[in-house]
């Protein structure tokens, strides 16, 4: 069963303005955590994303696509990264999400919809 793990800093501005040494330490811890899970095949893919200020949103209005600057959810809680988990059930996905090594990150788990056969 695949789950999308959506990662969002609770506060983007605090996330971006934290001291460099601290950011590096956290990043090293997360990289280690990520590699461990990837090696075991529990995380099959995923990426950190650039900040919400780089986001562009496309909406379709009256059949016409319109393009706007910024993310489609409030920038303060914008998604900062994602991973695709491949695990037997929600408990296994929750165990991974609970072991996330950084502070101040909210995680949403969404089961991936299986394609209809």
């Amino acid at each position: 069963m695949k789950y999308m793990m959506l990662l969002a800093p609770e506060d983007w501005s605090a996330f971006e303005s934290r001291p460099k040494a601290e950011a590096e330490k956290t990043f090293a811890r997360i990289a280690q955590w990520w590699d461990d899970h990837a090696r075991k095949g529990l995380i099959v893919e995923g990426h950190q994303l650039q900040g919400p200020e780089t986001a562009t949103t496309v909406r379709r209005r009256n059949g016409k696509p319109t393009v706007t600057d910024g993310p489609f959810i409030e920038a303060k809680e914008a998604v900062g990264g994602y991973g695709i988990l491949e695990v037997p059930d929600l408990d296994a996905a929750l165990a991974i999400a609970k072991s996330w090594p950084g502070e101040g990150t909210v995680i949403e788990l969404r089961p991936v919809k299986e394609r209809d056969r």
Partner: protein, 389 residues
């Protein structure tokens, strides 16, 4: 293959309950449930085991509804199926229904439906909610269980404590919903307390080494033992102080206290054991005046340090009243006023304290505020009497 399995299953059930009709009915019920659920939920990993468990559950449902089978019910609960190596699947079902990925109200509705076996209409009556709301809640929950694949099993030991606390919270809430209901129109809600007690006792049988399960069961039983004195002949709520203690079932109280002692001997204290100890201290007192208030105060302090909450502080203030007088208690109550401004019992307690201090006008004001905040008919009646008198 199906017919053969059904025959084997029926035979096993007959052996178990010693009643052919009941066994056959239970197996039929299980087959109907399978026809309803397998097409949408998918085939279970082990269909025979699923049918076996379901049949047992259905048999329990039927037994529960018929008083003449009381003795056999005990037999059924205590025995395990002959060729079933896995632990009781009801336990897995209960943990699934109370999974933290489901909201509390969904956990409660699902537990009542799937584990206790109430109909949607019965649940709706018990919670005074429209049947459609409950039905929708249950449908959505089932969809999430299947869609997000919430597993059907007893959690691993390392997360057992956390998950068990979810289950106990659901049972406690269900019990209170029933117990706090009063006479007359809400008879359906009172049954809820009995149902919660039944399921908790089943849980205690299945997990005998969990002191908090025993603590909760003891708490429920102490409350039920005093039930007869809570409501007077006119259906009015009677406060602990005025209750006729001769109506209390001393034997049941004693049994509940022994259960609590068994839990305490495991030396893993918890909030339900503490609450049971408080209830037991009240239940063992010969009169309201002779209550061991210093002990109650001490227990509330312990409760506050393990699970701090303004409601605990409010109850602690009542104990403090009897240990240190109404002045000290009122000061303690005023300190938590901001947290409990929307809580009826807070204002009712404050009203009592003000009256004890001779501040009658302020007391009436507090009672009026309490009245505006409760919908419980018995509580309303009591407060109206106080304001009028």
């Amino acid at each position: 293959m199906v017919r053969e399995e059904v025959a084997r299953l029926t035979a096993a059930m007959v052996r178990l309950v010693g009643d052919f009709d009941l066994a056959e009915d239970a197996v039929q019920d299980a087959l109907v449930a399978a026809l309803e659920r397998w097409p949408s939920d998918g085939l279970p990993q082990n269909p025979v085991a699923w049918l076996t468990t379901t049949a047992r559950r259905k048999a329990i449902d039927r037994l529960r509804r018929e008083v003449r089978y009381r003795e056999k019910l005990t037999l059924l609960e205590e025995s395990s199926m002959p060729d079933q190596s896995s632990p009781d699947e009801r336990l897995g079902l209960l943990f699934t229904c109370c999974h933290p990925a489901l909201s509390r109200e969904v956990q409660v509705a699902l537990t009542l439906r799937a584990v206790i076996g109430l109909t949607t209409a019965e649940i709706a009556r018990a919670f005074v909610a429209p049947e459609a709301t409950i039905a929708q809640r249950i449908v959505r929950a089932k969809r999430k269980i299947v869609g997000a694949r919430i597993p059907f099993r007893v959690p691993e030991p390392e997360e057992r404590a956390e998950r068990l606390s979810e289950v106990l919270a659901v049972l406690y809430l269900t019990f209170n919903e029933g117990y706090l209901a009063t006479a007359g129109e809400h008879a359906a809600r009172r049954d809820l307390a009995e149902d919660a007690e039944w399921l908790t006792s089943l849980l205690a049988d299945l997990m005998p080494d969990e002191p908090e399960v025993l603590g909760l069961l003891s708490l429920m039983r102490v409350h039920l033992a005093r039930h007869a004195s809570r409501i007077d002949a006119g259906g009015r709520l009677v406060l602990l102080e005025q209750q006729d203690r001769t109506l209390w079932d001393r034997e049941r109280i004693q049994a509940a206290v022994m259960l609590l002692e068994r839990a305490a001997a495991m030396r893993r204290p918890g909030v339900f054991q503490l609450q049971a100890a408080i209830a037991a201290t009240h239940a063992e007192a010969a009169s309201y005046e002779e209550t061991d208030w210093p002990r109650i105060l001490h227990l509330y302090d312990a409760l506050d340090s393990s699970a701090p909450s303004p409601v605990v502080m409010l109850n602690r203030a009542v104990a403090l009243w009897h240990v240190a007088g109404p002045d000290a208690a009122l000061a303690a109550v005023e300190a938590i006023a901001p947290d409990l401004d929307r809580y009826s019992l807070f204002h009712a307690t404050r009203g009592e304290l003000l009256r004890a201090l001779g501040r009658d006008a302020e007391a009436r004001g507090a009672d009026k505020r309490a009245l505006a905040l409760t919908e419980n008919p018995a509580e309303r009646e009591l407060l109206s009497r106080r304001i009028g008198g």
